[in-house]
Amino acid sequence: MFRKQPVFVRNLTPKEIAAAYAVPLSSLRDPQTLAERTKPGHENWLITMGVCTHLGCVPLGAAEGEPRGEFGGYFCPCHGSQYDTAARIRKGPAPKNLEVPDYKFTTPTSVTIG
């Protein structure tokens, strides 16, 4: 919870990281690399707002057993936006990637958002 909105924290598997790097930037609607969206040394920890950039629904895929869409990231049930393993918009009406809030690692195992 940050500003009364959910935050997604995801520990990416090496396979998911590789999948995120394999996508050519030019094919993205909102081009960003996974490295730009995580902190150095913690590339496996993807922290984003759980708020679809289309109209603000909470995408599915954060909990086990929920649909993750065609790209293995998050799937927004409202209008069908699909995000990849770096939570970047790949398909559907949303204009931007899931927002990465300002945060820093205060210890190797905890972060402070804001």
Partner: protein
């Protein structure tokens, strides 16, 4: 001039839509969306007939009392009934003393707070109290059941189907959708939206509840009874609403016939609409 602008604006929107359509259709043809496990295996609720169905339906109080017993002995361990008060149970045919006794013996006590000393405590329930909240620490969040039959497609049929729908995950499903394997701690149920429900099967054996009226407490019977009870909790005024509805409709139809005759009378000899 305004028409030229309008035509341009119309063509602009049409072109934007056509562009979306073409891209959408081409990707739909080149890579048709694959069916998901939920789409293939989710089932609509089974048929369920209750005494309260239909425009003339009445509650069957014996069944509601049995359903209340199932709620009390099984469901209430995890599920609240926060919008109901003990006094409401009088609708089911319990008298004042019985309601008092049910409230006093309810296993979850009513929390109290003394604003003077700041002490928190608890006391037995009285008929004026709402059913106390139930807190649940395990996996999943048991929903409040007061409104459950209004809050789900299918209503009581959904409750009944869910309670009797637990089964092993079909091998065929696992073969086709290996990712859809029910995670640890969840249970496969084709009537649940995501197919994997956190609630363990609540009605495990026939005779789990022993009914006072001699009805045989099969799993099917218990599920039906509690579904009927939850129809009542969702809307205790249901019966009253329909009874009043018939009176209102009867009056209105009579009045409408009168207004029609008045209308014909006023317009007699005046030719108007045809």
């Amino acid at each position: 001039m305004i028409r030229i602008f309008a035509i341009l604006a119309g063509l602009f929107f049409a072109a934007g839509l056509a562009w979306s359509f073409l891209l959408g259709a081409s990707s739909y043809i080149s890579e048709p969306p694959a069916k998901t496990a939920v789409e293939e295996y989710h089932q609509h609720p089974k048929e369920l007939q209750l005494a309260s169905d239909g425009a003339f339906g009445r509650f069957d109080n014996e069944q509601l009392q049995r359903g209340f017993q199932v709620y009390k002995e099984v469901c209430s361990n995890c599920h609240s009934l926060r919008y109901l008060a003990f006094r409401d149970l009088k609708d089911l045919g319990y008298n004042d003393d019985e309601v008092k006794a049910i409230a006093a013996q309810w296993s979850t006590k009513q929390p109290t707070f003394d604003p003077k000393t700041g002490d928190k405590g608890e006391r037995p329930n009285v008929p004026a109290d709402h059913f106390p909240l139930v807190y649940y620490a395990g996996q999943g969040t048991p929903p409040d059941l007061s409104l459950i039959t209004k809050a789900r497609h299918g209503g009581p049929a959904y409750v009944y189907s869910l309670l009797t729908g637990y089964q092993d995950q079909p091998a065929e499903l696992l073969k086709r959708f290996p990712d859809a394997k029910v995670p640890e701690g969840l249970h496969y149920n084709p009537y649940f939206a995501s197919l994997a429900i956190a609630m363990p099967p609540p009605l495990t054996a026939d005779g789990q509840v022993s009914y006072g009226d001699g009805t045989k407490a099969t799993r099917d019977q218990m599920a039906k009874d509690v579904a009927a009870f939850l129809v009542w909790t969702a809307e205790p005024s249901l019966e009253k609403r329909r009874q009043l509805g018939w009176a209102v409709l009867g009056f209105l139809i009579f009045a409408t016939v009168l207004t029609y005759m008045a209308y014909q009378n006023v317009w007699a000899g005046k030719k108007g609409n045809h």
